[in-house]
């Protein structure tokens, strides 16, 4: 019943269940493709302009995809009140949270990996700055959205209008992280500035909020 065993057992279980209900995955994948296509119709810039706005476009698209994924974080645990079974057991709350957050993270990163080549293609994107820096930006930024999103998804279990509650809580809080992700990405694409400060901000943001989530998750889980 150690932290790691509970977390990995939960993560494995979630991956297995997600894999078995392939319709959900397929629907999400198709949805991400749709988002990219809609954006490419809505925003049709020249190659020069697109380097300036692509950062914003890409991250808004990722944000949409993330919210759709995050909203169903606890769906299986709410069906049949499985969450009660977890709460009634002596297992600590944090491994459950971490497993869910990591699961969401993997899922959203996969979606981003699929959407990115499409964006590159539609907007003829090319990084004028150090392109490899986009990887840590993507990972740190995604974690920032997912760690808080998983936590707020748990809060929204205890509210009315669940699906709207999650973005309502997530968006305002994520403003600094979004600014960082977007500006970092734009800096790399245009090659005009260094993204270092933004990356540092994201690291600090991730550390602070992951800690806050771990400290407060149990309070929220037990708040019936």
């Amino acid at each position: 019943m150690s932290f790691l065993t509970v977390a990995s057992a939960t993560l494995k279980k979630d991956v297995r269940l997600e894999w078995r209900s392939k319709d959900a995955i397929n629907a999400m994948l198709f949805f991400s493709l749709l988002v990219v296509v809609i954006f490419s119709f809505a925003f049709d810039p020249t190659a020069e302009e697109s380097r300036r706005i692509a950062g914003g476009l890409v991250w808004v698209a990722f944000l949409f995809a993330a919210v759709v994924a995050l909203n169903q974080t606890w769906a299986r645990e709410l069906r049949n009140q499985v969450l009660d079974a977890y709460r009634v057991s002596p297992a600590p709350a944090n491994p459950l949270f971490l497993a869910k957050a990591v699961g969401n993270f993997i899922f959203v990163v996969v979606l981003e990996a699929l959407m990115t080549p499409l964006f590159i293609m539609f907007y003829k994107l090319r990084a004028l700055g150090p392109g490899w820096e986009l990887v840590p930006i993507a990972l740190l930024g995604t974690w920032a959205l997912v760690v808080n999103g998983t936590f707020f998804a748990a809060i929204s279990i205890r509210t009315r209008a669940r699906e709207i509650m999650l973005p309502l809580l997530l968006f305002p809080l994520s403003i600094p992280a979004l600014l960082a992700m977007v500006n970092a990405t734009t800096s790399i694409l245009t090659g005009e500035e260094s993204a270092r400060f933004w990356i540092a901000l994201l690291v600090a943001y991730d550390v602070v909020f992951t800690t806050a989530c771990l400290l407060l998750f149990e309070t929220v889980l037990e708040a019936e």
Binding site: M1, T5, V6, A9, T10, K13, R16, L17, R20, S21, R76, R79, N80, Q81, V82, D84, A85, Y86, R87, V88, S89, P90, A91, E222, E224
Partner: protein, 222 residues
Amino acid sequence: MASSLTTVVVTEGLIKQFGRFAALRAISETFGGGKLYVIVGDNGAGKTTLLRTIAGLASPTRGTVSVLGATEVRQVRAQIGYMAHPSLLYDEMTGLENLRYFAGLYGVSGEDRCRNAIKTVKLDPDLDRPVGQYSQGMRQRMSLARALLNDPSLLLLDEPFSNVDARSAKEMAALLAQLRDHGKTIFVVTHQPALLEGAADEFVAMEMGKVVSRTSILQAAQ
């Protein structure tokens, strides 16, 4: 181990309030160990709330509840088994897969424990069907198997016989009596108390958030 404890559940002035509605109104009761208690009453009487409070799923607005000697239920969670009308199982996994996962939450290892729990409720551990495709009777039995995984000394069952076929219900009732004979303390909330008429030690009647009577005779409780 439970039978050496004289009191398993003690509530004092237990009040549970939801906004303007008081589901439990100052309940002060003592429940001894090794007995089978059947809680009866109309809808809204507070039976489920009481059970959930004992299970640690709901916390008192005022007053105290002490379970297995602990004031914080979380300290004794390893000794509690809980079952409710929803199955508390993942529909997409088989019974054994479900139990393996929950066994991990209790630090209970061993394929055998899971298999034995399933056999105890007279189901087939190797059944390859996901729980979502079970009949209601099978699902309730598998849910009971989950509640028994950690060999709890205190069992809390909320409407275990609901929508269950007559034969499964009788088998479950017999199993509960057996578990009580082995020293477990069992609380059953049900609308079908007749199923446990021979086996129950006490019928606890609740009405409007209070315990109005405790008797060993079913007739008197209704």
